[in-house]
């Protein structure tokens, strides 16, 4: 996969997670838009991905570093609207496992995010 393809898959995964609780709130939308810009994705592509959000399948990246980055991104997005809630935690755990990562990895990412965000 080219780096652009990796970015598209990464972004699709973020969108898939963001709508998993049935709602795409304003903070999440804003974060997704900024990430899309950072990934260099054109707006029409972004709109198309968000439109089909409920049909998106979660894709597991081949590269371990990419998998870790995705989990970090997903945890970060889950915390954009405040601390991570039980439902969000369970969703993140599910994703971590699909990414081949463990609960201990997830807890590490959450703790690190809280520390860097001064929320601990």
């Amino acid at each position: 996969m080219s780096s652009k393809e990796v970015n598209i898959e990464h972004f699709k995964n973020l969108v898939a997670v963001s709508v998993a609780d049935g709602v795409l709130d304003e903070d999440e939308r804003e974060f997704l838009e900024e990430r899309a810009e950072e990934f260099g994705l054109p707006m029409d592509e972004v709109v198309a991905i968000i439109k089909t959000a409920h049909e998106l399948k979660f894709i597991v990246p081949d590269d371990e570093e990419d998998r870790e980055e995705q989990l970090a991104d997903i945890v970060f997005m889950s915390m954009v609207d405040g601390d991570i809630e039980d439902k969000e935690y369970q969703l993140c755990l599910n994703i971590a496992e699909r990414l081949g990562l463990k609960k201990v990895d997830l807890d590490q990412v959450i703790a690190l995010t809280q520390r860097l965000w001064n929320r601990s």
Binding site: E34, A72, W117
Partner: protein, 555 residues
């Protein structure tokens, strides 16, 4: 060398001459150190460390990328514009391996300052931290830059941490303004591509230029001091000899001064690499709390810095709780070390803070105090091995010991001249480099700075040239005349003061401050602004800064 009476004051084990260079070039120096100390940790930043071997592999990959993907060839200029982070040594060593000339650039430069430096050096490529990419975007079309490589703070921290640091820096701290550089390549992508590309060794000669180190010089127009491989290799050898009696095992140095500054570049960066030290890079030393917390994690043996930094640390209540048991040497440069700071440093750390002296044009060290306890507070120490320092009068006559005049230097670490500039007047007829600083030598060969260059302002170790600040302010539509001088400042030694004559009475101080914010980097901005109806002038209409200084001193 009949005037080298200082040699008698050299500590035991320090030779008067360095002899032939051990390395043919900086490439040779980097390769030798990487092979000799392959398994040792070379650099650490934010808890992530890289060994000498990893630095070697990553820098070679970066060199291959520059050669194969950017088609850069020996002698092309590349700007590095980053704070202290792991990417810096990789990009620096990679660029040198590719035979390029490195143009170290302050990341806090405004667009105007970047444009001048990049165009003057005819830079073809730039490695820049994302936090300042928006400034580059605004001037890129006015430069000849063909390749932009953007890096983020967490790029080399790996896995979860690297990703989270990048997210927090951008989305929580809001430290990365939006930018649009469609052709830019990420640093990590450059490394990935470089790993797959072929690196072709470059033949470099000692006299080839390695760095264009920008400095205001004595005229105020920022100029690139051409430092050759020989200059920097010789400087490294001089410093090794100076430090050698105090060195043992693997040293651990704290690098809080930025690597784009000549002092950190060649002393902390290159010298320490050559002797296999571990180098802890501090990205933001202004965050004193974070800095002290980081210091607590390491049993460091050496620290370098400027007076402001040492003073800041000493004023942090937690600083005294650090373990200083391994600390051997602290060296201050860039600006005068204040006596009370040196005294307090000794009280708190139990070690001496010695002062050295030099300029970008001299790689930088010309003089340093002895490290064996025979230092003299208030002096800049003795000329280093193979270095001659003398005092000259305005007519170019060498003055006897004890007389005050301009400090001039000679040695293998002294540049050949400024890049693409008329170098007349930079050296005297006998080839002495004229520092522009006024000083005196005592009977034992210790030198002392009596006064700074006539008009130069020294703000926390950074040189500010009144001409540059005046030129910027004079461009404001509502300004008729301007004069800039340095005034004493308890925190930064000196601060910039601007005297303004209005062209339009509606001009306010706030308006001028906003304007300066846009056009001048932090330390160059006037701390004090005073409006006047007229400025003192000579018979020919030249504004007399001297009179303004005298008025300030009389207050």
């Amino acid at each position: 060398m009949p005037d080298s009476l200082w040699v008698e004051r050299y500590p035991k084990g320090v030779p008067s001459e360095i002899g032939p260079n051990k390395y043919n070039s900086l490439i040779d120096l980097f390769e030798t150190a990487s092979n000799t100390y392959a398994d040792r940790e070379a650099f650490e930043n934010m808890g992530k460390s890289l060994t000498y071997q990893e630095i070697d592999e990553l820098s070679t990959a970066f060199a291959a990328y520059l050669q194969q993907e950017c088609n850069l060839v020996k002698g092309d200029r590349i700007a590095l514009q980053m704070p202290n982070m792991l990417q810096y040594p990789i990009a620096l060593i990679g660029a040198i391996k590719a035979g390029l000339i490195v143009v170290n650039t302050n990341p806090l430069y405004t667009s105007r300052e970047m444009e001048h430096q990049f165009n003057d050096a005819e830079v073809k490529a730039v490695v820049i931290i994302a936090n300042f990419a928006h400034s580059l975007e605004s001037i890129l079309h006015k430069t000849k830059i063909e390749h932009v490589i953007v890096t983020k703070l967490g790029d080399l921290l790996g896995g979860f941490k690297g990703a989270l640091v990048n997210l927090v820096v951008k989305y929580v701290k809001k430290m990365v303004p939006a930018y649009n550089l469609p052709t830019a390549v990420s640093f990590n992508d450059a490394l990935s591509k470089g790993k797959k590309a072929t690196f072709n060794k470059v033949e470099v000669k000692g006299e080839d230029v390695a760095f264009l180190q920008y400095t205001g010089g004595t005229t105020g127009v920022s100029k690139g001091a051409m430092l050759s491989h020989n200059n920097v290799v010789s400087h490294t050898s001089q410093i090794i000899h100076w430090f050698k009696p105090q060195l043992s095992g693997q040293e651990l140095i704290i690098t809080a001064i930025p690597l784009y500054h000549i002092f950190a570049l060649t002393v902390n960066g290159i010298f320490m690499f050559a002797i296999g030290s571990k180098n802890v890079l501090i990205t933001n030393p202004r965050d004193m709390k974070g800095f002290v917390a980081e210091l607590k994690k390491h049993k460091f043996t050496l620290v370098t810095g400027v007076n402001t930094l040492f003073n800041g640390l000493l004023n942090n209540p937690d600083f005294k709780n650090i373990d200083f048991s391994k600390l051997k040497i602290t060296v201050g440069g860039g600006m005068a070390v204040q006596d009370f700071v040196a005294k307090k440093w000794r009280e708190v750390t139990g070690t001496v803070l010695v002062e050295g002296y030099g300029l970008s044009e001299t790689s930088p060290v010309l003089c340093c105090n002895p490290l064996d306890g025979s230092q003299r507070i208030g002096t800049i120490g003795l000329p280093t091995p193979s270095t001659q320092v003398a005092i000259f009068d305005e007519e170019g006559n060498q003055l006897p010991q004890g007389e005050v005049g301009e400090i001039c230097g000679k040695g293998p670490q002294v540049m050949s001249g400024y890049w693409n500039k008329d170098n007349s007047g930079v050296f005297n007829d006998d080839g002495w480099f004229k520092t522009g600083d006024i000083g005196v030598m005592d009977k034992d060969g210790f030198f002392k700075i009596v006064d700074r260059k006539k008009d130069m302002i020294c703000v926390s170790g950074f040189n500010v040239y009144p001409n540059e600040v005046e030129n910027v302010i004079a461009d404001h539509d509502k300004v008729l005349e301007v004069a800039v001088i340095g005034v004493k400042d308890a925190k930064s030694t000196e601060a910039v003061k601007a005297f303004i004559v209005k062209n339009d009475e509606s001009l306010t101080e706030q308006e001028l401050r906003t304007y300066c914010e846009e056009h001048l980097t932090g330390y160059k901005k006037p701390k004090h602004i005073e409006f006047r109806t007229e400025l003192p002038k000579s018979n020919v209409g030249k504004i007399l800064r001297r009179v303004l200084k005298e008025e300030e001193l009389a207050k």
